[in-house]
């Protein structure tokens, strides 16, 4: 029996309505084509709302030495030179215009004294570069795009999940999915599709990401035959909350350490002094006294080891916990309250400098950070890897299929600088929308194959056929998150990752037998069941890519290969589906920088 569905037809279909998706949709609509947007949540709820720090753009409002070349070379250095240099170039050049454009659409950034957009310092950026709105920049950005977008001529399908891309002889022809609220199926015909579904954080137990981050775009692209790139690079932020469980993974800003907060283990020891990489010895304080002076603005003092790079701090915390020197809930202590030994009225000082952190811990943990240390631990934060795209057009290796934002790979290489994700969304969201519209104008519609639709619908309905006797989707999700955290997390080892692959294969079999009770209308169990194949696919891709890269670089740390290997610096790792449905993992040469970009990199080293 054939399944019933509603049908819509667009020139450009955008999947995802965070910063990248909305920016793409606005641009495509401005190109005069018919645009549809599909999102899993209500409009304006996407993960972009969580971004705090700011959007990086060389506006040079605060320091006039800044320009696109400095931003470009900062991004390349941060990414350990595995970045797609064309994307890093376009990003640095175009980010300022994208930020100014937001202001023209109603965004209200914090101001400099002379009334321009204010910019703040952030890790890895040479000059103050992050345009911001207090600590809620992401909300400002998404609301601006949303409020502008609803008048820009796009149709939004809220609370819908795409389960499959529809293909016509190798090119994309549309998407098939269902309405989460009502449960019915929908066919979206489209001449071009933009994937902007964000990241993959929900594959891990401890994450700062929202539930939507189940790697949908990564997995849809993979199944459609597109290549993924850099999947081994998952960024772990060193300081997330670990307790209470309700907020495990929630971000604790780097600003706490900037204000003098220190990391201690259960023995009360400042363990960061024990392991300072040679590369940073010159720049790091050799006494607690000097570190304290740095945080208080002494330009002659060197930074305390708590402010070393994110990947290193995260690994040190992890080591303390594994060695049994962790806090009761599996983290370590981040202590800002101690500064009362140094300055008068410390409690007022902390509340003034870190208002949102004070409230976050007070409200959610019942803990007064001016009196007690916080318990923190690393949290899965960002996916550098994603769909391999052309640097200019954002088209994947599949004709008509585009990707932007966290779903695409290339800009950040092996490690992302804070602030570069919000600018990424704007710059490459716009480009994806523009080139998707162009593709639609030039190529017309592909044919939609009813066989593909019926197969997708049948597979989506299987959990109801299995019924309550089947596997519990939540159990499978939790098990996956547990072992991905444990075995493919911050510190990676060959045999542990091999074990993870075996466990993923086991879960895939069980996921095929997931059972759901009751009907299709707003059924969270069914929604979770539909997320599982995507989470399993990205988990396997991460693991296989991490296994192949036998070195430590950026966000990837291999305990069995703890050093950087110049040879591996020449390659990205691509993941694609083979003819038999098997996952292929292959090396691809890093794109060669043209001489003028090479020169900039050398000059700024």
């Amino acid at each position: 029996m054939s399944v019933e569905y509603q049908e819509y037809s667009y020139d450009v279909l955008v999947i995802g309505a965070g910063g990248a998706g909305l920016r793409a949709a606005i641009e495509a609509a401005a190109c005069g084509v018919k645009v549809g947007v599909v999102c899993k949540s209500l409009l304006g709820k996407a993960h972009t709302v969580m971004a705090e720090g700011g959007v990086a753009a060389a506006l040079a409002n605060v320091d006039d030495r800044d320009n696109w070349k400095v931003h470009f070379s900062d991004t390349m250095r941060g990414g350990q030179y595995l970045n797609n240099c064309r994307m890093a170039e376009l990003h640095a050049k175009e980010a300022p215009d994208r930020v100014r454009e937001l202001e023209a659409w109603g965004a209200l950034f914090d101001r400099t004294k002379d009334g321009r957009i204010l910019q703040r310092n952030f890790g890895g950026h040479r000059y103050p570069r992050l345009a911001h709105v207090g600590d809620r920049t992401g909300l400002e950005m998404i609301r601006t795009l949303q409020d502008h977008g609803i008048h820009a001529g796009m149709e939004v399908h809220m609370e819908c999940t795409v389960v499959s891309l529809l293909m016509d002889s190798g090119r994309v022809a549309g998407a098939f999915g269902y309405d989460r609220e009502k449960g019915h199926f929908i066919l979206w015909r489209a001449k071009a599709v933009v994937l902007a579904t964000g990241g993959i954080g929900r594959a891990f137990k401890i994450t700062s990401n929202s539930w939507e981050y189940t790697g949908d775009g990564h997995a849809l692209a993979y199944r459609a035959g597109a290549e993924l790139l850099d999947m081994e690079f998952v960024q772990f932020h060193p300081t997330g909350m670990v307790w209470p469980i309700s907020v495990r993974g929630l971000l604790v800003t780097e600003g706490v350490r900037g204000e003098g907060g220190v990391l201690r283990n259960s023995e009360g020891k400042r363990f960061m002094f024990d392991d300072i990489p040679d590369l940073y010895k010159e720049q790091t304080a050799d006494s607690e006294e000097e570190g304290w002076r740095y945080t208080q603005g002494d330009k002659n003092a060197r930074r305390p080891p708590e402010l070393l790079t994110r990947d290193h701090v995260a690994r040190c915390i992890n080591r303390e916990v594994k060695a049994g020197r962790g806090s009761p809930h599996g983290g370590v202590y981040l202590d800002i309250a101690w500064i009362k030994e140094r300055i008068p009225k410390a409690a007022e000082h902390i509340k003034r400098k870190l208002p949102s952190m004070y409230h976050q811990f007070k409200q959610l943990a019942g803990l007064d950070i001016t009196k007690e240390p916080m318990e923190i631990g690393p949290t899965t934060h960002y996916m550098m890897g994603g769909v391999r795209v052309d640097g200019d057009t954002q088209m994947s290796t599949v004709p008509g299929l585009f990707a932007a934002g966290e779903t695409a790979a290339g800009l950040h290489g092996a490690n992302r600088l804070g602030g570069n994700s919000l600018s990424d969304l704007l710059v490459f969201g716009k480009r994806a929308g523009q080139f998707a519209a162009e593709f639609a104008k030039q190529n017309g519609a592909g044919a939609v194959d009813d066989g593909q639709i019926q197969a997708a619908a049948k597979s989506a309905l299987e959990p109801f056929e299995v019924g309550p006797a089947g596997e519990n989707p939540y159990t499978i999700q939790y098990e996956l998150q547990d072992f991905m955290q444990e075995l493919v997390g911050i510190v990676r080892l060959e045999d542990e990752m091999e074990r993870a692959l075996g466990l993923i294969a086991g879960l895939e079999k069980r996921a095929a037998r997931v059972g759901i009770t009751n009907h299709r209308q707003y059924n969270n169990g069914w929604h979770t069941a539909m997320d599982l194949p995507n989470m399993l696919t990205v988990s396997e891709a991460i693991t296989r890519a991490a296994l192949l890269r036998k070195e430590s670089r950026g966000a990837q740390f291999r305990e069995d290969y703890p050093n950087k290997d110049a040879e591996w610096g020449k390659y990205n790792i691509a993941v694609r589906r083979g003819g038999e449905g098997e996952m292929l993992v292959e090396r691809r040469p890093v794109p060669v920088a043209p001489d003028e970009l090479k020169k900039i990199i050398e000059e700024m080293k």
Binding site: S41, L42, L43, G44, K45, H47, V49, M50, R100, E103, A104, W105, G106, L108, D110, R111, D114, G115, R116, I117, V133, G134, R136, L139, E140, R143, D147, H148, I150, H151, M158, E181, S210, W211, E212, W243, P244, I245, S246, V247, L250, Q363, L364, A365, G366, N472, P473, Y474, T475, Y478, I516, T517, N518, Q521, Y522, N523, N524, G525, W526, T528
Partner: protein
Amino acid sequence: MATQAMFRIWRGDANGGGFSDYTVPIDDGMVVLDAVHRIQAQQAPDLAVRWNCKAGKCGSCSAEINGMPKLMCMTRLSDLNLEMPVILEPMHAFPPIRDLVTDVSWNFRVKKTIKKFRPRTPDAPDGTWRMQQADVDRVQEFRKCIECFLCQDVCHVLREHHKHEEFIGPRFLVYVAALEMHPLDTEDRVKDLKDKYNIGYCNITTCCRQVCPEFITITENAIIPLKERVVDQFFDPLKKLLHIL
């Protein structure tokens, strides 16, 4: 702290429903949304709940907890009386879809009817503007809104009198205030406030302000100044007198 708690959750859809009881083990520091997730995972996999960031930033998990409109992700169990069942209901001002999920699409339709931002000509030749932080502060308060719609849920005009077709509710009065008080905006929405959005229906009981999880001073900072603009423009007795003379 108790080791388990009972949750009395409204389950049903547009055709009606009733309460079901679930007892779950609880841990220190849990919020209501954690308990709901635990019930989903262990007892009622199809229990419908809308949530997203679980950090009080997206405004998806709005519900009524023991009769109070709140975000489930920001309500700690330790702040509730667990001697009694915790009563969870969907928001009352919107049609139920299923269980704790309501149809809030009306809000998205309303927003589209409000005249969009229209900036003045740029101040500088490079197409940029100059604004002072002090002028931006006032509007930034309104732009903290996470669109959880708890203020809409508690507003008498919507909740008791169902004036959804005539009144836009506190959320969108805040939205209009953010546009009207935006330093760059040149559009005029005051006539619409009087005629289309019926701002006069609001009798400033401050219920909306009291439930705002972002602590926006909705009544005093947004609605009252807008009411004053309407009065200034349309009900100024001096102007009226001059008009008659």
